[in-house]
Amino acid sequence: MTSVSRRLTAVTVVVMAGALAAALTAPPDRLQGNLQRLMYVHVPAAWLAYLSFAITLGASAGWLWKRRASLDRLASASAEVGVFFTGLTIALGSIWGKPVWGVWWTWDPRLVTTAMMFFVYLGYLALRRATLDATVRARRSAVFGVLAFAQIPVVHMSVVWWRAVHQPPTVLKPAAPTIDEWMLAALLLNVLAFTLVYVLLLRTRVRLAVAEETYDAAHDRAAGELAGQAITTPDYRKEFPNHV
């Protein structure tokens, strides 16, 4: 582990501990009580899903422009982490929804569009897995990474465009946030903590991708050497010494 990784891990652990303390000591919601504390994980997870896919968009567009392998790794790693956080958002939303709405799942536009976003990026990962050639994989997934982002504004604005059971934005909206100051502070601290977790996961995944590529290159080289050794050029001077 490098010194940067060690420091990043230490900072993340400290901020996570602070965020956990803030989430547990923040005032409970007047109507939902302690159940509302799920917000301190649900909202950061949703924010990170957006951030991950935005990074995938930026890195994909960057790859199409610069053709750097590092941008492809970044786009792919961010999409993987984003799919994880989208899944977490849906699962936590479902756990929160059962006691509040009375159902695990409801046909709310925010829920449906989030689920669709999850499947769009699963498609992105499936496309990467199905493409064996590294350059073709990078190119096709970069195009899809740009296209797929069209869903994100729809997911975020769905609660504004179609009013249903999911509450509209509380923090990320044109007007001032409609939330208690302590709750907002705890929420922002949790967003920061989860963002650090995201950076840590992203960094680890990118390094893993580099290690995978190095291993594959070494494997290909070894296979190449074997094939070369199997066929040797006949030495006519040895076999036919008297031949002129």
Partner: protein
């Protein structure tokens, strides 16, 4: 001899795809009957409650169009052999023109597919037909959007081993606004509202998908 312009090239490529489809007849002789079977299966699964089926019939029709239409829009791309793709590249036709030709052929096939299934859905479900004039706009717009998205997905999955299963996974979630708009048009008419905003959304999806073809066709067609 002057080479044909891009529009002419796209038309010729679309004609080629339609000719091949005319020989194979897969869309209207295989996929459309399969879609008809799907329309028959829904009442068997959810019950033969006639008022319920009347109210959900329109939505079921569009779900079947979306799921089976994806097969139609991906069929030609999946059937292309590497030699055919290489030959088209060697002819010097611009990638945007190639994808436009394919999308145009797919749009026509999808429209034919929609029109074939529509009377079947009306017969089986007997949905309220008060929104029928809007279908004149909705049917071609959905066909065009699905065709362009399918063409893009076909190009993305070209030559891959799992392209027939991967393609639908790429298209269907992105085609959600098409399904939503198509069904909401009928809903809006039923409640006495003007469905223009939903038609505009359909048009927007079509325009964005067409722009994506124009922007990314070259990147997708490059040699590795």
């Amino acid at each position: 001899m002057t080479p044909p312009g891009p529009a002419r090239q796209a038309l010729e490529l679309a004609r080629k795809d339609l000719l091949l489809e005319g020989r194979a007849g897969e869309t209207l002789l295989v996929t459309a009957p399969f879609g008809g079977v799907a329309l028959l299966l829904f009442p068997l699964a959810i019950g033969t409650d006639v008022p319920l089926l009347r109210s959900v019939g329109y939505g079921i029709y569009w779900v079947v169009v979306l799921l089976f239409g994806v097969l139609v829009s991906l069929r030609q791309s999946a059937a292309d052999t590497p030699a055919q793709v290489a030959l088209l590249r060697l002819t010097g036709v611009h990638p945007v023109v190639r994808l436009t030709g394919r999308a145009a052929a797919n749009a026509l096939l999808l429209l034919a597919f929609e029109l074939t299934l529509l009377p079947v859905a009306v017969m089986i479900y007997d949905p309220p037909l008060d929104s029928w004039p809007w279908l004149l706009a909705v049917l071609p717009l959905v066909a065009a959007g699905l065709a362009v998205l399918g063409t893009l997905a076909g190009a993305l999955a070209q030559g891959l081993a799992g392209r027939t299963t991967l393609g639908p996974l790429l298209v269907v979630p992105l085609a959600l606004p098409l399904l939503l708009s198509a069904t909401q048009v009928a809903e809006a008419v039923r409640y006495g509202r003007e469905p223009w905003s939903w038609v505009a959304l359909l048009l927007l999806v079509d325009v964005v998908a067409a722009l994506a073809v124009a922007l990314f066709a070259r990147s997708l067609e490059e040699f590795s």
